[in-house]
Amino acid sequence: MTRFSCDSAIPARAGVGYKLDHTDAILADPSRIGFVEIHAENFMGDGGPPHKMLTAVREALPVSLHGVGLSIGAEGPLDKAHLARFAAVAARYEPGLISEHLAWSTHEGAFYNDLLPLPYTEATLARVCEHIDAVQTAVRQKMLLENPSSYFAFEEATMDEISFIRAIVERTGCGLILDVNNVFVSATNLGHSPETYLEDFPLHAVEEVHLAGHAPDEDAAGAPLLIDAHDRAVAPPVWSLYADVMARAGRPIPTLIEWDNDVPTFDVLAEEAARADRILAAPTRNAA
């Protein structure tokens, strides 16, 4: 039984990353989007306008809670105080989905404000699973893990990313966020096929999809290097991969438009969400 007028469950529609500046525009017509996703750390203050605005939005829409600072891949144990804050945000806003990244961001008490990469080995697998268990215990809810954007490969890796993610799902029972932009970014940067990656991805465990824009760059050898910048519209090849994977999934999956830098008006975000909604409507028809 939720304390909010709006139910917690995330519908199989498109949502957007919540920006405080968009509060009035969202509340003017919440039906334009299916949900908002919040970065948990932005709502860990004691009070003030962020909580007041999010509470008003939560009355109108379900919330997906996305952590960026739990550091699931950290070498050391999870920060208990931060995990408690994360669980408190979850208890306060009753999110329909809870998620974090396959990455690390803290080491020896310092926070690096980025999603840092892991080599895929038995040792890192065991550690990530242990940390996911700790999160799921703290929030008493299944968490989703998001596939990363990769800029290089580790020679010490003993398994590929898909095998690593499949093993995590099997061992912890967690769900997944499939970030299609990350798939495209990693495939371009590491020279593999995004289509093959998506064919192998354990779609049955995916409960949310992320779409975002990326920035083109190149490495010292002149090879293309895409940056997961979240600073522009979703790129055409990512839309294409998204449509393919949704058709194959055979069920509409809640989909988030992420746009965190050079943030446009809510109208622009809502239009991107509407485009995802049109694609989401297609597999529903196919499955019927």
Binding site: G48, T106, F111, D114, L116, P117, Y151, D217, A220, L225
Partner: protein, 251 residues
């Protein structure tokens, strides 16, 4: 936080984040080419994102310093002072002191004061909500009880001393600009959802400092030069308190 002595894989990684001359071993472009150059993506992400966090928190400070100087200072600060938690709205507490020690700002001592005001405002923005104490609560007390009564500081109340003119510089760079009659100290409050920045003369600031620290009114009123009535009125109007303890012996 001692990457020099930290031989773990992540210790080596974070040491390389802060130093372009340190390579991370065993990374390739996925096609077999060793690609230590690609570490630059993470170096840049970390450096630029922390610089941007500081630029947003210290927006007016950045205007006063100019973007180039500020970004260089923020970058240098961030390299040696990583956030100690993922709560980035708490990051930068030591930045005003860092600025105060910069040789290039020695002639502009008001700039670190502006930074201190901005950090205090950020703290007030995220502080716990509480109803401010009304002037009526105080008026209800018998005159004889006033000297012993103590106030509870509102969770958002902050006092920043600005003897070098930081408050004037801060207010002159807001929209619309303001020119306060006095700029000795800034009282920052958030009685409801809107931040307020009030100017206090030095005696009123000392009086406010004593009351916010929990001193009895009678003791704070002994502050040299303070006009108790107007000073208390300013504090109550600004919502600096959330409670009142009438003290021992009151009914």
């Amino acid at each position: 936080m001692r990457p020099e002595g930290d031989r773990s894989p992540h210790g080596a990684f974070v040491a390389a984040l802060g130093d372009p001359d340190r390579a991370v071993r065993g990374i390739t472009d996925g096609r077999g080419r060793p690609a230590p150059d690609r570490m630059a993506v993470y170096r840049n992400n970390v450096a630029v994102s922390l610089q941007e966090v500081l630029g947003e928190t210290f927006e007016t400070t950045r205007v006063l310093m100019g973007g180039t100087f500020f970004d260089a200072a923020a970058g240098a600060f961030a390299k040696d002072n990583r956030p100690t938690s993922p709560l980035l709205f708490a990051y930068g507490e030591d930045f005003p002191a860092f600025l105060a020690a910069l040789p290039g700002l020695k002639a502009y001592p008001f700039v670190p004061e502006v930074a201190a005001i901005e950090f205090a405002r950020l703290g007030a923005y995220h502080a716990a909500d509480a109803a401010p104490l009304s002037a009526d609560s105080l008026a209800a007390l018998p005159q004889a009880a006033l000297p012993a009564c103590r106030f509870t500081a509102h969770p958002a109340a902050r006092l920043v001393k600005t003897p070098a003119g930081g408050l004037g510089a801060y207010l002159a760079n807001q929209d619309p600009p303001e020119t306060p009659a006095t700029t000795d100290a800034a009282l920052i409050t958030r009685p409801d959802m809107t931040l307020m920045t009030a100017a206090l003369p030095a005696p009123a600031a000392a009086f406010a400092s004593a009351l916010l620290a929990g001193a009895p009114l009678g003791e704070a009123a002994a502050t040299p030069g303070v006009e108790v009535g107007p000073a208390l009125g300013t504090l109550l109007m600004a919502g600096a308190f959330s409670g009142l303890d009438p003290g021992p012996g009151s009914a």
